[in-house]
Amino acid sequence: MAKEKNQRKSPDETQYQAIQQEKEIKRPIIQNCIKAFFVGGLICLIGQVITTFYIYFFDFTEQTAGNPTVATIIFITMLLTGFGLYDKIGQFSGAGSAVPVTGFGNSVISSAIEHRTEGFILGVGANMFKLAGPVIVYGVFAAFVIAIIKTILMKWMGL
């Protein structure tokens, strides 16, 4: 019964959804893209500055400076999230602050803060990766598939 109801739309529903299409405030997509481009670019620029800093002032090479850079960026994200600023940046820039590693950091940190009231084990521990978990799961899975393709192409087909 519920399934049937979900599949068929009554004329009233179709008509109202058409009104909604018209009345709904649209997302300003172009404006959002521009904001995301600049904020995302700015985050990457800061990352580059930090990398350069580590290479010049410490004993890092271009290959090894990546890890401390990511750690530093995530530490800054943690502070911004804890002080309640990152969600405001997120509302402004959308994908610009969600796609870089800072977005991943924010999703972990915000969940950890949020579930502090339920205790460290079932609260923080169990919920920390609630939003970031899918990124890890599908990231690992995608890497696995790509590795298989690479193996087939290079080892067996000799490309």
Binding site: N6, K9, D12, E13, Y16, Q17, I19, Q20, K23, E24, I25, K26, R27, P28, N32, T81, G82, G84, Y86, D87, I89, G90, Q91, F92, S93, G94, A95, S97, A98, G103, N106, S107, I109, S110, S111, I113, E114, H115, T117, L131
Partner: protein
């Protein structure tokens, strides 16, 4: 007395003898800070969790409503109310130290007028002398349950709404000074197949329209009978859609008489996107702001129509639609008011 199928007429005209309204920091900076008896500067209210903070909001609203009336807390017989949090715990926990008979209600953001209609019905039919009814919501507690962690940096679309941090209570009595409740129309669940949880106003508009039309028809009055028709939390999108739908059905209400609480609480430059929402939105708007207009004699008759979206995070994830409801209560200037 039943009129038609879903409208109650209250011949004994129960009186709202006092109200209590409480708000949070964003409400304090909003358009109508005068509508609140108590305003808090921060979201935690010195509690350990947002849910406990919400409980304190309701406790304070109850205390204010009783303090402003001429009766003692012991004289209140029943409390009807609810909120948006799972198993309506903030309401239950706020009441558990009180000596009231308690009926927990859930109709999402329409709980305020659901409670008011039932309270009026109980008083009108001699089932009670003094009934308290109220709702509460807390922005962070609601965000966390329905959406993402409060500090998560996701971008909300312009159709999204901001949950009001606050609580409101009304004390309904047989006699006394205050605005009177003359009738109520109980809404039915209306589902137009809308699925976007970031556009609640759009989903709720048809429910508001259905209840308003049923009310006018069953009470046999024209829309002009009311000085104001006040919806709960339709926001920009829902208000526009409701006006369009009403127009299509041949009911013409002028723009300035069709007011939404969600658009009345915050200033235009506050970051609330399409407007306020939440169980406290209609409660503080109606009890705190619009009842004052009746008491001061600026308006005589209002129709309060709180709207609620009856989905859960689970039904949204399972690709369910958003069923909605609206209840209407007509409030008029009356007993003892100049």
């Amino acid at each position: 007395m039943l009129l038609g199928k879903r409208t109650w007429n209250f011949p004994n005209k129960p009186v709202i003898i006092s109200t209590g309204t409480v708000g949070g920091p964003l409400e304090k900076e909003g358009k109508i800070p005068d509508a609140f008896d108590v305003l808090y500067d921060e979201n935690w209210l010195e509690q350990n969790s947002f849910e406990q903070a919400q409980q304190v909001l309701l406790e304070e609203a109850i205390d204010q409503a009783i303090k402003k009336s001429s009766i003692q807390e012991e004289q209140v017989e029943f409390f009807l109310g609810g909120d948006l949090i799972n198993q309506i715990t903030p309401t239950t926990f706020a009441i558990n130290s009180k000596d009231f008979g308690y009926m927990g209600l859930f109709n999402a953001c329409a709980t305020s007028t659901e409670g008011l209609a039932l309270a009026a019905h109980m008083v009108d039919s001699n089932a009670a002398n003094f009934v308290l009814t109220g709702t509460s919501s807390h922005n962070a507690a609601t965000e966390r349950q329905y959406r993402y962690p409060t500090e998560y940096g996701s971008q909300k679309p312009p159709t999204a709404q901001w949950t009001v941090t606050g609580a409101g209570c009304a004390l309904v009595a047989k006699q006394g000074t205050g605005p009177v409740i003359t009738s109520a129309t109980i809404g039915k669940v209306v589902d137009m197949g809308m699925t976007d949880p970031f556009n609640m106003g759009g989903a709720m508009a048809p429910a508001a329209v259905d209840t308003i039309m049923t009310h006018l028809k069953e009470r046999n009055v024209p829309p002009s009978y009311y000085d104001l028709i006040i919806t709960g939390d339709l926001g920009k999108v829902g208000r526009e859609a409701s006006l369009e739908l009403l127009n299509q059905k041949g009911i013409h209400i002028s723009q300035d008489k069709f007011i939404d609480c969600g658009l009345s609480i915050y200033k235009n430059d506050q970051p609330v996107l399409a407007g306020g929402s939440g169980a406290a939105c209609s409660t503080v708007g109606i009890y705190g702001h619009f009842l004052q207009k009746i008491i001061k004699g600026k308006v005589n008759r209002i129709l309060a129509v709180a709207t609620g979206a009856l989905h859960s995070p689970l039904t949204v994830q399972q690709k369910g639609t958003i069923p909605c409801i609206a209840h209407a209560v007509s409030i008029e200037s009356g007993s003892g008011l100049s």
